[in-house]
Amino acid sequence: MIDILTQPFVEFSFMRRALVGCLALSLGAPPVGVFLVLRRMSLMGDAMSHAILPGAAIGYLLAGLSLFAMSAGGLVAGIVVAVLAGIVARSTVLREDASLAAFYLVSLAAGVLIVSVRGSSIDLLHVLFGTVLALDDPALILIGAIATVTMTALAVMYRPLVLECLDPMFLRSVSRASSPTHIFFLVLVVLNLVGGFQALGTLMAVGIMLLPAVTARFWAEEVPNLIIVAVVAAFGSSALGLLLSYYANVPSGPAIILTCGVAYLVSLLVGPRGSLLRQLLPRKHLDA
C-alpha cells in the first residue's frame, strides 16, 4: 500500500519535482485564498487570472518560451490591473468588483489583440496551461521564492489584514494601514497566481488558491486554523492528484484541481462545521 504511494516519487525525479512544486504552491496560495474568501472576493482570483494571461502572452511573444519574460509580463499586467482597480475603488464611486471587472476586461482584450497581431505560432494555450511534470530548477526556485515572500508578508501584515477582512471601517478609523494593506494583499494574489501559472497553468492556478480555502470553511472557524486546513488540503490534493495522473493516465493539472474539488465536495457534505450533514442532524446543545 505504502509502496503504491511512494514508488512513483522514488523512481522518477520529475514526480519529485512536481511534488516539491506543489508543496511550495500549497504553502503560498491557499492562505491567500483564505483571505480572499473572508473578504468575499473569491471571484477576484478568477478575474486576476485573466488579467495575467495577456501579460504572460506578451512576454512569450517578445522573448519566446522564457520563464522570466512570461512571469514578469504576467506579474506586471496583474499588478497594474489589481492596483488600478484598488485605487479606483477607493477613490471613486465604483466598487472593487466593478472596477476590477472593467480593468481586467480591457487587459484581456489588449492581450488577445497582441497575440493575434503576431499570429498564433506555438499554440499559446499549451504554453499558458502549465506543465507540472516539467518543472525545471528556475521554475522551482521561482515558486519557492513566491511561497516564502507570501508567508513572510502574511505574517507581517496579519493583524491589519484580519481587521480589514472582518471590520474594515474600524481599521480605517484607527490606522492608516488600510490602503497599503489592501494594495499589498492584491500584489500577493498576483504573485501566487504567477507562481501557480508555472506549475498548473493560469486558470488552474486559481483552483489551488481557492478550492482548499473554501474547503477549510467546513472544518475550521478561526483564521489560523482555516489557513492550516487549507494548506493541508491543498498539499494532500496535489499529492493525490499526481498519483491519479500517474496511475489513471490523466493530465496532471486537471487531476490535481479535480482532487481539490472532491475534497471540497466531501467537506461540503460531511465537514464538522456548517456542512449539509450538520444542518440535517439535530444540533447538540451549545454546539452551534
Binding site: S13, M15, G119, H126, L133, Y246, A248
Partner: protein, 302 residues
C-alpha cells in the same frame, strides 16, 4: 432584422462579396493551402502561374489553429484549396463553410496508403489515422501528383508548365531520398531510435527504418499524463535511447525534463509539421528533409 444583426452582416458579408468580385480580375490562379509544407509544394509546381496563400505559416501548428476573418476572405478569394486531409486540419471544414468557398478542394493525401496508429487513452486503445504523411518522400510524390492534377484541372492552359515543374521537382526528390537512405544506413541499428515531442514521424520511421517515440499523441492538442512521461523515461533507460529531439511546433519544456532525468542528450530541433521561415534551415519541403536527416545523424552517430 435588428440592428445588431445588420451590423454583423455588414462586417462579415460585405468584405466577402467585394473579395469574390475582385478575384476574377487577376491573371494568376489564387491557391489557398492549409499549412506551410503544402504551400511550398504548390509554389514549386505552380511557379509564377499561381499565387499561394498559406493559413498556418512557418513554425505554426496546423493541428490547432484558429482561422481569422482575413483567412475566410482569402479562402473565398481562392480558386483552389489544397489540404492535407486525414484529420490534420480539423478547423478547415468550418472555415470552408463560413467563407462560402466555391472552388475545388485538392486533398493532397488522396490515394496514399495511410498508417493507423493505436493511441491509448484512459485505458482504452483506439485506432486513429496518422495525418503526417508528408514525412515520407514516397508519399510526398503522391502529394506532388495530386497537386499537379488539381492545378491542371483548374487551369488547363498551364498544363505544360505544371507538368514540367512537377517533373523537375520530383527529380530533386530522388536526390534527397538517397541522402536520407544513405545517412540512416550508416547508423548502427541499435541507435536508430529517438524521442520527439509528438508522434509526427510515423511515416518517416516506417519508410526509412527508424523508431520514433513521443509522449504526446499524433495531435499536439492532448496533454501528457504522469503515466505517459513515466513510461517514456523507463523506455529510454531500458532501451538506451541515445537522444531526444525537439520539434519546431511544440512546447519543449516536457522534453527538457525527460532529457534531464534520463541523461539522453538533446539532439536538436526537427521540423515536423511546419517549415521554418525563409531564413531558417528548413524553408522548403526538401530542405526540411535535408535539415532533419542532418540533425538526426549528427546526434546519433557521435
Amino acid at each position: 432584422m435588428n440592428r445588431r444583426l445588420l451590423l454583423y452582416a455588414a462586417t462579415f458579408i460585405v468584405p466577402l462579396l467585394i473579395g469574390s468580385v475582385g478575384a476574377n480580375a487577376a491573371d494568376t490562379i489564387k491557391v489557398a493551402t492549409s499549412f506551410s509544407i503544402l504551400g511550398d509544394m504548390v509554389k514549386q509546381i505552380g511557379g509564377d502561374r499561381v499565387e499561394v496563400k498559406t493559413f498556418v505559416g512557418p513554425n505554426g501548428d496546423a493541428h490547432v489553429y484558429e482561422p481569422t476573418p482575413g483567412d475566410a476572405r482569402t479562402l473565398a478569394d481562392s480558386k483552389i484549396l489544397v489540404v492535407n486531409g486525414l484529420g490534420l486540419e480539423g478547423w478547415m471544414s468550418r472555415l470552408q463553410k463560413s467563407s462560402g468557398f466555391k472552388g475545388t478542394v485538392v486533398t493532397a493525401t488522396k490515394g496514399i496508403k495511410t498508417r493507423q496508429m493505436e493511441e491509448e487513452e484512459h485505458g482504452t486503445t483506439r485506432k486513429i489515422t496518422d495525418p503526417h504523411a508528408w514525412q515520407s518522400l514516397t508519399n510526398g510524390r503522391v502529394y506532388v501528383q495530386n497537386i499537379r492534377d488539381g492545378l491542371v484541372a483548374a487551369d488547363p492552359a498551364g498544363k505544360d508548365a505544371y507538368e514540367a515543374n512537377a517533373k523537375k521537382f520530383l527529380a530533386d526528390f530522388d536526390d534527397v531520398e538517397k541522402i536520407v537512405k544513405d545517412s540512416i544506413a550508416k547508423l548502427p541499428p541499435a541507435r536508430r531510435k529517438i524521442i520527439t515531442t509528438h508522434d509526427a514521424f510515423g511515416y518517416f520511421g516506417a519508410t526509412y527504418g527508424m523508431e520514433f517515440i513521443a509522449p504526446e499523441g499524433v495531435s499536439t492538442d492532448s496533454e501528457a499524463s504522469a503515466k505517459d512521461v513515466a513510461k517514456i523515461i523507463r523506455q529510454i533507460k531500458a532501451e538506451k535511447v541515445p537522444a531526444v529531439f525537439l520539434e519546431n511546433v511544440t512546447d519543449h519544456r516536457l522534453l527538457d525534463q525527460i532529457a534531464r532525468e534520463t541523461g539522453a542528450k538533446i539532439g536538436g530541433t526537427l521540423y515536423s509539421d511546419a517549415l521554418s521561415d525563409a531564413n531558417g534551415p528548413a524553408a522548403t519541403y526538401l530542405d526540411m528533409f535535408r535539415h532533419n536527416i542532418q540533425t538526426l545523424t549528427a546526434a546519433l552517430s557521435s
